[in-house]
């Protein structure tokens, strides 16, 4: 393989004039993490609500929850990204659309909202599965004690369901983190985008991608370790 390796490239100044290539990747990493965390807040909140809707003893509530999940699961994330970024501003009243298009950091906000709602459909699926995995009697016991439906969910069903689904939620979080890279198509300068830019500027393809790869693997390991700690922390004695 006649490829000119140059591992020192990371310490060369990038043509953007704001630091070295290493700084460039670092700023990409920060955007990746910030985007993933913000999107996760939306995904967790919306996903929990939709997941709960699907377990309520009400046909309309279930229909709304199911429709949400089907809609967001059956359209590729990249297409959803384009819909939020290119299509939504055109469908809104003109002044709103203009405001949206001129928003600084528009790719970031779009990525957060798009990923948030997309991941919510996957979180919803897990939350529903977690609640339905609980014995039917748990809901009855809460109800029989006089708890309202909302209280039964808040104090009995959800705390148990979240514990059960912690492992799948961890992998959804990781998927969410990896999916931030799809936002490079709308101009988010996240880690993969920065690695790609470094490759274009420096022609050191494999150094750039190797660095990005190692960073992704480290993040994965950190998240998995953290999830393990949380799991132990919230584990219920005797189970």
């Amino acid at each position: 393989m006649n490829y000119n390796w140059n591992w020192g490239i990371f310490f060369d100044a990038s043509p953007e004039g704001t630091g070295t290539y290493a700084d460039m990747l670092l700023s990409g990493l920060i955007w990746t993490i910030v985007t993933a965390l913000c999107a996760w807040v939306i995904a967790f909140a919306v996903g929990s609500v939709i997941g709960v809707l699907r377990t309520l003893p009400s046909r309309p509530a279930q229909a709304v929850g199911n429709a949400y999940v089907e809609l967001f699961r059956n359209i590729p994330l990249l297409v959803q990204m384009f819909l939020w970024f290119f299509v939504l501003p055109e469908l809104l009243p003109e002044s709103w659309g203009t405001w949206l298009k001129q928003l600084p950091n528009a790719p970031f906000y779009t990525a957060v909202v798009c990923l948030g709602f997309f991941t919510a459909s996957r979180v919803a699926e897990q939350v529903r599965a977690g609640i339905q995995a609980l014995p039917r009697g748990q809901r009855m016991a809460g109800t029989a004690l006089g708890l309202t439906t909302a209280q039964t969910y808040r104090y009995v069903l959800l705390p148990n369901a979240y514990r059960i689904i912690l492992p799948p939620l961890t992998s959804e979080f990781l998927n969410n983190l990896k999916n931030t890279s799809v936002a490079l198509t709308i101009g988010l300068l996240e880690l993969t985008a920065r690695a790609r830019a470094m490759q274009e500027f420096s022609f050191q393809v494999f150094e750039a991608f190797t660095a990005a790869t190692i960073i992704y693997i480290i993040i994965n390991l950190l998240v998995v370790t953290a999830a393990g700690l949380i799991e132990r922390r919230v584990a219920v004695p005797g189970r």
């Binding site: 393989m1 490829y3 089907e70 809609l71 699961r73 059956n74 359209i75 590729p76 994330l77 990249l78 297409v79 959803q80 384009f82 819909l83 290119f86 299509v87 055109e90 469908l91 990781l174 990896k178 999916n179 931030t180 890279s181 799809v182 490079l184 198509t185 993969t192 690695a195 790609r196 490759q199 393809v205 494999f206 991608f209 990005a212 790869t213 992704y216 693997i217 994965n220």
Partner: protein, 230 residues
């Protein structure tokens, strides 16, 4: 609110969208699913083999692929495959690899990691007694796998494998980052050429949704049938 939109752009371009774009998408999906399942099954067998080293290699491969964003993997292979080709055939320069071959290699290798996890669960779902019975009858490992274990594992896991294939179908849209004319790529090119982003992206969303929704309904029906027969 659609008053100033021009949906005739779809009528004018549907041949290009479907004959060029969707054909690419579907071919890539089908071949990558096939290759991914075959390779994934081999990886799952390595993982469960109990031989030295092989299980660790398989596990490392799966965890590695699953840690990376598909977009990054697409870039990786796009640049790496020419060099590997050069090394394989010993040519002077990195060889030119077409967009289709490059994507096919990428998706096969990437999805194999996900398919292997499904097949591993499938193989593990077969009671240990089945393998014991096959050995007792004098079947070799490969005979037992090929005639007894894998057929049952495939059958049990068919709905999950198909669901993952629907995910793969959606994932192929990411070849957009290499400016390839898959279905979304075609829609995008028309959109830019005619300045009709809203119409084209909405249409692409509707088509993807229709295909995936109907496919997942069919998978659910299959799942019920498989469940009843068992």
């Amino acid at each position: 609110m659609f008053s100033n939109f021009d949906f005739s752009v779809i009528l004018n371009s549907w041949r290009y969208l479907f004959f060029d774009g969707m054909t690419f998408t579907l071919t890539l999906t089908a071949l990558a699913a096939l290759g991914g399942v075959v390779l994934g099954t081999l990886i799952a067998m390595m993982r469960l083999s109990g031989l030295p080293v092989l299980p660790q290699v398989a596990k490392a491969y799966v965890n590695f692929m699953r840690s990376l964003p598909l977009v990054l993997v697409i870039f990786w292979f796009y640049f790496l495959v020419p060099y590997i080709g050069q090394w394989l055939i010993g040519s002077e320069r990195p060889i030119q690899v077409g967009a289709f071959s490059s994507s096919l290699i990428t998706f096969t290798l990437f999805e194999a990691a996900y398919f292997s996890e499904i097949m591993r669960a499938g193989i593990q779902s077969i009671p240990k007694g089945q393998a014991a019975a096959a050995s007792a009858l004098g079947l070799t490992y490969w005979q037992a796998m090929g005639n007894v274990i894998l057929p049952q594992a495939f059958r049990n896991m068919l709905p999950v494998l198909l669901t993952q294939t629907i995910v793969l179908f959606q994932d192929t849209s990411l070849v957009y980052v290499l400016s390839i004319t898959d279905f979304l790529g075609a829609a995008s090119k028309v959109a830019q050429r005619d300045g009709r982003l809203v119409e084209m992206y909405l249409f692409a969303a509707v088509v993807y949704f229709a295909v995936c929704f109907i496919a997942s309904l069919l998978v659910r029906r299959l799942q019920r049938r498989v469940a009843i027969i068992r």
